[in-house]
């Protein structure tokens, strides 16, 4: 019963997002076609009447709004996000090409910030109020206040520009077909180090705090005392009893924080000229490519939403008590 309820909630949310995505451009002042090639202020239409009619037909603007809404939905379900005006290519294709880089960046950042945050957070919790904890805590608080792009710029200057350890931009050195897979992978990682590090660092503070709090609440639990009483190794107590219990709140929180992470990724991609969706967005904004902007936003929101859904599913899988609670 309850599960169904949650699912409907998600479906409704998706519908709302789709609708906003549909209606938003229509509510903007002026005619989108005037903006297609016009800079701010000067509303010069670069299109002939014929072209405009064609576009209007394409976007269903010549039809009653309800019908065009339906055809928009139908298009979406067929995976058609529309046509980019600037690149003159289907938005779906562009998104698909760019998406993997962003996902790669975000996943790498999640991985690093989680591993490092968990390690440091647990350490802090176990040595609570001692020197190590105090130092770590102060350090993390300091870092979590710095915005992602600042860290990115700093990295760029120090490690790429000054020291020349890493490439300045891009995700791959230009195509050379004769490289082996290992070489390509190496190249990809080499490019990804700085953006991932910058993105991870912005997440690290939050993760650290989260883990520290969770662990602090877990350590005094009776089962932790039982585990200590049983003479288990430190490692076992920490991993099997502590972390295993921390996993629950941790995973859900990680998934829930995906939204901010994607936001961070947009900034970082721009700093490092990393060819993901984030970079694409700023390009699209620069050239007023509305269909493209819409398409990217839609994809990102849907991704974040499905991450949320996944966190709930995971919670059920991880916590044996939840299953029974629903009866």
């Amino acid at each position: 019963m309850k599960k169904l309820g949650r699912l409907t909630e998600y479906v409704i949310t998706v519908l709302i997002i789709l609708s906003i995505n549909f209606f938003l451009p229509r509510m903007m002042p002026g005619d989108p076609f005037l903006f297609l090639s016009g800079d701010q202020g000067e509303q010069i239409s670069a299109y002939s009447d014929e072209q405009i009619r064609q576009y209007k037909a394409c976007y269903g603007l010549d039809q009653p709004i309800f019908r065009s809404y339906l055809s928009y939905l139908a298009d979406l379900f067929r995976g058609r996000l529309g046509q980019s005006l600037y690149f003159n290519e289907s938005v779906g294709h562009i998104v698909l090409r760019r998406l993997p880089w962003t996902v790669f960046l975000v996943c790498g950042a999640i991985l690093f910030s989680t591993v490092l945050g968990t390690a440091l957070g647990s350490l802090s919790a176990f040595y609570r109020n001692r020197l190590l904890d105090n130092v770590l805590y102060g350090f993390m608080m300091f870092f979590s206040e710095i915005p992602a792009f600042l860290i990115g710029l700093f990295f760029l200057f120090v490690f790429a520009a000054s020291l020349g350890l890493f490439p300045l931009s891009g995700a791959l050195t230009s195509f050379s077909p004769d490289r082996s897979v290992v070489q390509v992978l190496k190249d990809i990682i080499h490019h990804a180090v700085l953006p991932v590090a910058a993105l991870s660092l912005t997440r690290l503070g939050g993760m650290y705090l989260l883990v520290r709090n969770i662990m602090i609440s877990i350590i005094p639990k009776a089962y932790m005392r039982t585990a200590r009483a049983k003479g288990l190794s430190r490692y076992r107590i920490f991993i099997r009893h502590g972390l295993r219990n921390a996993l629950l709140p941790l995973t859900t929180r990680i998934f829930m924080s995906l939204g901010t992470l994607v936001g961070g990724a947009v900034l970082v991609e721009n700093v490092f000229a990393y060819p993901g969706l984030g970079l694409m967005i700023s390009q699209a904004v620069m050239v007023h490519d509305y269909p493209l902007i819409q398409g990217i936003f839609l994809v990102i929101t849907l991704l974040v939403l499905s991450a949320n859904l996944m966190s709930e599913v995971l919670y059920r899988v991880l916590d044996p008590r939840v299953k029974d609670g629903e009866g």
Binding site: T226, G231, N245, P320, D324
Partner: protein, 602 residues
């Protein structure tokens, strides 16, 4: 094997340190079985946890020595060496004692994995065998703890503690969520495995019957301090500390007949740090108790006690009391070599057929009749019965017949404060206040109309309460109640008794409760004394006397009055006596009555 020297455990709380265990010293030999009892929060679990070094936040003072090695020290190392390998524990049940996200099997398996060298398959078999041994079906092994009932969790915890064959097993309320049958099953199991493995045992329980069955030595803790220590059986049947007695009196498996009364006051009304912690609730506290902390002293072999007054005081002691009355022809021996003892806070029921000398005893004890022979001593050296009745905090007697003990012509108020008036105690204001509060205590109205009433205008029940109030104004240390309920209807009787018992429990006075009603005695008494023809034929704890009377005549009395009535509950008590007495006994019954009539005449 295990030795605690001056062990204290202090939790650093925000509002100041909390001493959960306070200077406890004890020894436990190999194979020994120690029980620990005490009210909730007295530090039993803290003590148990400290033996394994599991009080994370707490500071420990003193030493814990196990097999010659001090466990508590700078590091955790010594504790680590014994945890579960040598000392295992069944934790006090709680929902999160077992890890919620690991199934039962995993949680048992990991101790074997850590401490024993077995193959995975062997471990699996062993875990399942142990679970079955403690009465948990194999099928439950792979369930998460939240699916198990409280009793099942306790079984799983027990299996977990036993599977590594510890040398010392600590059980913290291992049976609290089990029904009676599972409880005795499990205890039997712990017992038989002990015979097998020979582990020592520390058992914490609120169930005294479990404690008595399972342990040989017993420690009572109050506010973290050791109050009494000694062999379990002796301690439970002859407690010397008022606190131990209070625990027993509040325990349904010991007070099977008497109404249950908990110790008044509670949850550690911040005991004075330098006095006896129990003083605020102690029925016999003296001026010293507030400021001097009693030291644990060895009383007899293997028994020690912490009380400034050397344990429960004896308030009254009559030795070899004789009393005879001259008749027109010959004499009647109303008391013949009677020994009687009354402890502080105790209710002694004096039982016996009519004319067996109960009232004479009461009169002798309160100095109304001098005894012919024998010695009567009170709590203070040099105090005699007459002076004891003429002081506050002394001895008061309430009689059977309220019509004769309270005057017809005096008003209620005058009757109640008369004893104080005679003493000239305080101002007339304070006497009046004392009288009013005594009236309130016995649940009589203290409206002016009632206070001005004369004795003859009161009902029997009211008069009985009035005579009680009169005695209570003197704040007696001993109250002798001679058949005070015999003239009342069952309902008023029940009410009066409840009032009286409540007052006794709250104020802690000792009471001699004289009655021929065995049912009442059973509900009221801690100890029972049975009189027959002027002699005391039996004395003992109420439970013992009613369950297992030694003297044939006591047995007869108990059987006739209690045993058979069970089958015919509709019959009134008196009728039963008539129905059930054999003809010859009926004769003596009347004879005795007759004698009593005669005795009254002179």
């Amino acid at each position: 094997m295990l030795e605690l020297n001056d062990l204290s455990i202090v939790y650093p709380e925000n509002h100041g340190p909390l001493t959960a265990v306070d200077h406890v010293s004890l020894r436990l030999e190999r194979g020994g079985r120690l029980g620990i009892i005490g009210e909730s929060g007295c530090g039993k679990s803290s003590l148990a946890l400290s033996l394994m070094g599991l009080n994370r936040k707490a500071r420990t003072h003193g030493t814990i020595v196990y097999q010659g090695v001090q466990l508590n020290g700078q590091s955790d190392k010594a504790f680590k060496a014994v945890r579960w390998k040598k000392i295992a524990m069944v934790f006090q049940n709680g929902s999160e004692v077992l890890n919620p996200v690991l199934n039962v099997f995993e949680q048992l398996d990991e101790v074997l994995k850590t401490h024993r060298r077995f193959s995975t398959k062997q471990r699996r078999e062993l875990v399942l065998t142990w679970l079955e041994r403690v009465g948990l079906d194999r099928n439950w092994a792979f369930e998460f703890p939240h699916r198990l009932s409280g009793g099942m969790r306790q079984r799983a915890l027990l299996a977990m503690a036993l599977c590594c064959e510890p040398e010392l097993l600590i059980l913290d309320e291992p049976t609290s969520s089990l029904d009676a049958r599972s409880r005795s099953e499990l205890m039997g199991l712990i017992d038989s495995i002990q015979a097998d493995q020979g582990y020592s045992l520390i058992l914490i329980s609120h169930q005294l019957s479990v404690i008595e069955a399972m342990t040989t030595d017993l420690l009572t803790l109050y506010a973290g301090q050791m109050m009494e220590y000694g062999p379990t059986h002796t301690l439970l049947h002859h407690p010397m500390h008022p606190y131990t007695r209070g625990l027993i009196n509040a325990s349904p498996d010991y007070q099977i007949y008497k109404e249950l009364w908990g110790m008044p006051g509670g949850n550690h009304e911040t005991p004075a740090s330098n006095g006896c912690p129990f003083a605020p609730r102690c029925v016999q506290k003296g001026p010293r108790c507030k400021n001097s902390r009693p030291q644990v002293q060895i009383i007899t072999d293997g028994r020690s006690l912490a009380c400034n007054k050397g344990g429960i005081e004896i308030l009254l002691k009559g030795e070899h009391l004789h009393k005879s009355f001259a008749l027109k022809k010959g004499t009647v021996q109303a008391l013949c070599d009677v020994n009687v003892e009354l402890k502080s806070g105790e209710i002694l029921a004096v039982l016996g057929k009519t004319g067996s000398g109960k009232s004479t005893l009461a009169h002798v004890l309160s100095g109304l009749y001098p005894s012919d022979q024998g010695r009567l001593t009170f709590w203070e050296p040099g105090l005699d019965s007459l002076s004891a009745t003429r002081k506050r905090d002394g001895l008061q007697i309430v009689f059977q017949d309220p019509y004769s003990s309270t005057s017809h012509r005096m008003t209620v108020l005058d009757t109640v404060k008369e004893p104080l008036d005679i003493l000239g105690w305080g101002t007339s204001e304070s006497r009046r206040d004392a009288a009013l509060s005594a009236l309130a205590q016995v649940e009589l109205p203290n409206k002016p109309e009632f206070l001005e009433k004369h004795g003859h205008a009161l009902s029997g029940g009211q008069r009985q309460r009035l005579s009680l109030a009169r005695a209570l104004t003197m704040k007696p240390r001993i109250l002798i109640a001679d058949e005070i309920t015999s003239m009342l209807d069952p309902s008023s009787r029940a009410n009066l008794l409840r009032t009286l018992m409540g007052l006794q429990n709250a104020q802690g006075f000792s009471m001699i409760f004289i009655t021929h009603d065995l049912f009442l005695a059973r509900k009221v008494a801690d100890r029972v004394m049975v009189m027959d023809r002027g002699r005391c034929i039996e004395q003992g704890s109420s439970v013992r006397v009613f369950q297992n009377p030694f003297h044939p005549r006591t047995r007869e009395l108990v059987d006739t009055m209690l045993g058979n009535v069970k089958n015919e509950p509709m019959l009134g008590m008196k009728q039963n006596v008539y129905n059930l007495l054999k003809p010859r006994e009926a004769e003596t019954f009347f004879q005795v009555n007759h004698n009593k009539e005669q005795r009254r005449t002179p």
